[in-house]
């Protein structure tokens, strides 16, 4: 494949010249670039790196160029990913727009909507949040009650969302609203609006980890142009489900994406010590780590295998249905093992006696409990796999 070889050479050269040296090391949570109107950059290089990548469309490498994307083929994208990982480049931009909204806009939105929203996502100009869950609609998401009533060229929206990630820092929301109260799934529409619209109120929720990544979001007579509805009226559930597939893949990916920089067994040796022959001085933990590493490896290979199967047109990609649940379980398990091996250093809250890394592990452990709840609980995921993949009866 000479074209791909050439692309690799060009990409490598471009990255060499354009990826700032400070962008080639692991980043902390504070250094992650989320973009948006109020974007913060802890390092000016982060802004430079984002702008350069966005100019190439490489924050969304496979989106079409007319919407600001990179227009890369799957093979070229694989090259780009491997070259980025070769120099340990940080992601230039993290965003729900890239991971979740963009893919469904490409599939379901009209041309005007694509042209309006996709380029701003690519450039990190608008930060999006997700208006899905409600106090009475969690696992039973389709039971949502936030209402949108048509009034001329506008919808008037009233209701409440919950678990809206970073709503207090986001610019726009993609939101599920009820447009027909007489039916359940077929009475939902998918709509986009500006969080600065009058009538939107946001209240952060403090979590067990001490952080507040989620909010309660209230809508009180919020007026939204009717042209912001994506897809057909009352057909939003189809879009909602497709978007969840993208979200689940992303949450499942935590199993690999958030792997510690130092292998777990090296951390374990720090806290538990070695015996005379250099083995971890805790045989139960030693076995537990090996078991975890095998499962982690199998999980990573399953990701790769599903990719190869899809590319070769083999199978139905059914294995991808389990990635979210398995990834969540792995990350939760890893977090439990980490604080376990750290002993009382793993259960500190703040202040003297604990270093930053230790506090991060503890907070991360608390945060990880949400992995099997957010984006559809593991229980709901299993119900779906049992029915759709295994073909088990419903009664």
């Amino acid at each position: 494949m000479p074209d791909v070889d050439q692309f690799r050479a060009d990409t490598r050269a471009w990255l060499e010249g354009n990826c700032p040296a400070s962008m080639r090391s692991p980043m902390t949570a504070e250094e992650v670039v989320w973009g948006g109107r109020n974007a913060t950059f802890s390092n000016p290089d982060s802004k430079l790196w984002l702008d350069r990548m966005a100019a190439k469309g490489w924050t969304a490498p496979m989106w079409p160029t007319q919407y600001g994307g990179g227009g890369l083929s799957m093979a070229e994208n694989a090259v780009l990913e491997s070259e980025l990982s070769r120099i340990k480049a940080r992601p230039a931009l993290n965003s729900f727009g890239l991971w979740m909204l963009g893919p469904v806009l490409l599939e379901f939105a009209n041309e005007a909507q694509k042209l309006e929203h996709l380029p701003k996502i690519v450039r990190g100009e608008i930060r999006w949040c997700q208006g899905y869950s409600e106090p009475g609609a969690g696992s039973d998401l389709a039971g949502l009650q936030t209402k949108a009533v048509r009034d001329g060229d506008e919808y008037v929206i009233n209701g409440q969302k919950v678990w809206t990630s970073y709503a207090d820092r986001c610019d726009w929301i993609f939101c599920l609203v009820r447009t027909d109260t007489t039916v359940k799934h077929n009475g939902i529409s998918f709509i986009l609006f500006d969080m600065q619209s009058p009538g939107v109120t946001v209240k952060p929720i403090q979590l067990i980890s001490g952080e507040s990544p989620f909010c309660e979001t209230f809508f009180d007579d919020v007026r939204v142009p009717a042209r912001n509805q994506v897809g057909e009226l009352n057909k939003g559930w189809t879009i909602a489900k497709r978007l969840l597939q993208h979200e689940r893949t992303n949450i499942g990916d935590f199993g690999t994406a958030q792997s510690p920089q130092t292998p777990m067994h090296e951390q374990a040796k720090k806290y538990l010590g070695e015996d005379a022959s250099g083995r971890l001085d805790d045989s139960a933990m030693r076995r537990e780590i090996a078991k975890y590493q095998v499962r982690q490896k199998a999980y990573g290979l399953t990701y790769a295998r599903v990719g190869q199967e899809l590319k070769a047109g083999l199978g139905d990609g059914a294995a991808s249905s389990i990635l979210k649940a398995v990834g969540a379980e792995l990350n939760k398990h890893r977090s439990e093992m980490m604080i376990d091996m750290m002993g009382t250093q793993g259960i500190g809250w703040q202040g003297d006696g604990f270093n930053d890394w230790e506090i991060m592990q503890t907070r991360g452990w608390l945060r990880s409990k949400a992995n099997s709840i957010e984006g559809g609980t593991t229980e709901i995921n299993k119900n779906v796999v049992a029915k759709n993949v295994l073909g088990l009866p419903t009664k």
Binding site: K291, A304, Q308, A325, E379, G391, L392
Partner: protein, 380 residues
Amino acid sequence: MALILNEEQTLLKDSAKDLMTAAAPVTQFRALRDAKDELGYSKHLWTQMVDMGWAGICIPEEFGGLDFGFHGLGIVLEETGRTLAASPLVASILVGASAITLGGNETQKKQLLPKLAEGTLLMALALDETAHFSPHRIETRAELSAGGYKINGAKAFVLDGHIADTLIVATRTSGGTHDRQGITLFLVDQAAAGVEVTRTQMVDSRNAAKITFTNVTVEASAILGELDHGADILDPVLDRAALGMAAEMLGTSLEVFERTLAYLKERTQFETKIGAFQSLQHRAVDMYCNLELSKSILIDALSALDEGRDADLPTLASAAKAQLCETLHQISSEGIQMHGGIGMTDEYEIGFFLKRARVAEKTFGDAGYHYDRLATLNGY
């Protein structure tokens, strides 16, 4: 890193599945067991397998084999695992032919490999001496005697030990009981004076034997590989063996899962199919997750050798065997539980899979052994 089968491999898989379904159904295994068959396998089936070229699947062409690649053998083993087909494929080919290919000198290769490929020579590895797999723990002695060696000791759990023509015997020629250095492999005629073979009845009704060696004399030319350096051959052979068992275990896991799933869709209680109960559905999904993880780790490990990733083999083989031990353990147990009372009957086949599962888990190292080995290989 190919994680999907190529066209040739897919064809092989289909033909292996066809032959096993037609010529080696579980009923055949039951008949062998009930007849207390002396050989413990069907000669007719073995002839058919040899005719398909499977005995020579990993043997180089110059020695009469197909040189199809190790992955091919894994594919065949997976299909034999589905129907519990007993054959010399594991002891003679997976282990025996691998040992000769890796460790044999030209004379040994010329003499043994063509016969292995044509299915006329059966071999067995006499390694274990205790109830736990610990391949470097060797006390069987081989001592210099009149220009050759004299072997004394006792081996257990020798797969196909009572039907093998030639034994590969792991002996200690120097060093302490657990030392890697000082192990020497010998090729020993099973009919030689001083070799006493006793067939052991395992729970899976497959072939295994205890073998004692009393002043068994062999010539120096019977050494496979180099004196005191037998572990250099033994270790890579055992990696292949563990990996081949893992492939067989995937086939067994898939079969039990599919049978169990079918039962969940068919059995009615409380006027409803039991597969509609959430507690069973979620456990079925747990099994499915383990199966998908197992498929991935296995296919990567199986393709490693054919892709020249030999250096990764120890970790890949141990990871694959450990994962398949976990998966098959879970699925074979759930298979019984989800079938309920009928699963406890000898008349129903699901119990055969549980019995085979536990023996396969212990063969060439169980999960505990391989986790321990992985930790050691990874420096903890």
